[in-house]
């Protein structure tokens, strides 16, 4: 039985072996990965035991007892517990079979140890529940059960700061313990320099922007902290749709740069919009997936319908009820209304930079603290 929080060094050792075997693919909670998960646990426990052996051998090493501070094994500044946070936005905007789970899939995969996060002592998954059915939220229940992650619901912009500021101090054996953020990732809609976690939702806005950024503690992150935004245009401070250079997007004034400065960390974000099209499926498979759904849906509108070895259609009454089956238009014409596409292994790829606005680099950009330092 695994003991939480996991030991980061042992996690890294087990990951190294498994990732080589899977050619870089992180394991998921899918049945196909069950054997590899058992192998990962065995490797983790072996690595943990090796660490224990080394620890037991320490007293025998040739050390000067004067080097040991009796009764105070604390590192300077206390013990740091590293915490990751995965933010998952609602998806109301598209109202589509294809896109409904575009944030949930990479969020669930990251929460299962997948990219882009490093192993941490603690992990929180914070999501906006609006518009997700119980079935669509099950991947989060799965990661809570499997890994012991904390799952938090977001209902306002203030909740973003509340989650990021949840860094309690405590004490262990007389040694102060501080929780600090290691890696934070956003899978969400976005506007220039706004991460809009409830875009087009009926409820309150759940947005991180330059206005409410100062409500998050400037010392929230560890020194090598990282923040990833897969929202559109977090690194862009202009609303133009056409540029002749990256400089015209004024990334130096963007939310991404402000976060790098405030937290003194590295921030990864896009100048362009982000494209989630390939996160759940290979576009070339789309016609086959549609045909299988059309073939099986009659009389099974409220059931999970298997579409392939990887994919299934989750029933979602009311989703994408657009167009006409008779005229062959919209989602009704396609035959995908009332369902959401899901991939049992979570995301197959991370989102990438899209081609709009035009004239900007589409790769993810690295923002480091500017010489001006942090702002308050």
């Amino acid at each position: 039985m695994l003991q939480f929080p996991l030991n980061p060094a042992a996690v890294a050792a087990a990951d190294a072996v498994i990732l080589e075997r899977t050619r870089g693919r992180y394991l998921t909670m899918a049945p196909d990965d069950a054997e590899l998960r058992r192998e990962w646990v065995r490797l983790y426990e072996e690595a943990l035991a090796r660490q224990g052996d080394r620890g037991a051998a320490d007293p025998a090493e040739d050390r000067d007892p004067a080097d040991l501070e009796e009764g105070c094994p604390c590192p300077e500044g206390g013990i740091i517990r590293r915490k990751n946070i995965i933010f998952i936005g609602s998806e109301i905007h598209y109202d589509s079979f294809w896109w409904k789970m575009m944030f949930m899939a990479p969020g669930a995969t990251a929460a299962s140890g997948g990219r882009p996060l490093r192993p941490a002592d603690l992990t929180t998954v914070a999501y906006v529940p609006e518009g997700y059915t119980t079935l669509e939220r099950l991947p989060l229940d799965a990661v809570r059960t499997a890994f012991g992650h904390e799952i938090v619901r977001l209902a306002s912009s203030a909740d973003i700061a509340t989650v990021m500021n949840d860094l309690p101090d405590s004490e262990e054996n007389g040694c102060p313990v501080h929780v600090r953020l290691q890696d934070v990732v956003f899978f969400s809609h976005g506007l220039p320099s706004q991460i809009t976690l409830n875009y087009d939702g009926n409820g309150a806005a759940v947005t991180l922007d330059r206005g409410n950024l100062p409500t998050i503690r400037a010392d929230a992150f560890v020194a090598d902290g990282r923040l990833y935004s897969y929202a559109c245009r977090t690194g862009n401070s202009s609303w133009w749709e056409s540029f002749s250079s990256d400089a015209e997007a004024h990334p130096e004034n963007s939310l991404a740069q402000r976060m790098a400065d405030r937290f003194q960390i590295t921030v990864y974000a896009f100048l362009t919009r982000t494209l989630y099209r390939d996160v759940l499926r290979e576009p070339a498979d789309s016609a086959t997936l549609v045909q299988r759904l059309r073939d099986q849906r009659d009389g099974h509108e409220l059931e999970v319908i298997p579409l392939s070895d990887e994919h299934e259609a989750l029933p979602h009454p009311g989703l994408a009820e657009t167009g006409s089956s008779w005229l062959g238009t919209g989602a009704r014409g396609e035959g995908t209304n009332g369902f959401a596409l899901w991939r049992r292994n979570g995301a197959r790829a991370l989102p990438v930079g899209a081609s709009s606005p035009t004239g900007l680099s589409t790769s993810i950009r690295t923002f480091t603290p500017s010489s001006a330092g942090s702002e308050d």
Binding site: D200, N202, W239, G330
Partner: protein, 142 residues
Amino acid sequence: MKCREIPEEAVIERIATLQAIPRHAFASDAANLVHFELDVDPEKARGGTFVIRSQRTGEVVYLGPYAPRVQIAANPSLQDDGGWDNLTFELLLPRPGLSCRWSTDLGHPFWTEAQRVRIKLMAPRHIDDQGLVHDYDVEILR
């Protein structure tokens, strides 16, 4: 366009949510007026509440009865950076209980003073291969 038939109470609740969003501080200079022309049939929108929101500022720039022509006096916070913005339009009809929303991903330079902007809300919705939602068409008439 995303239209849904919803209960009257849900329409009223949505109107209350929109009324709680900060309003744009309108300019007093008549030269700043931007003239919007809309294509929803006024008869079908009778009794409804029509709302225009700026995604750029998060503000409501119009909330009131639907009219085919709406004038908005934009202040400089909307006009700088070329006046680019993404606008969301909503029509809420308590009876028969209808909520329609239009939000297009591509921005446009809406807030250039004294210009006319024709919004084709009745254009068919589509999502292009880059994942951009097109809920309405925009024609800028200088």
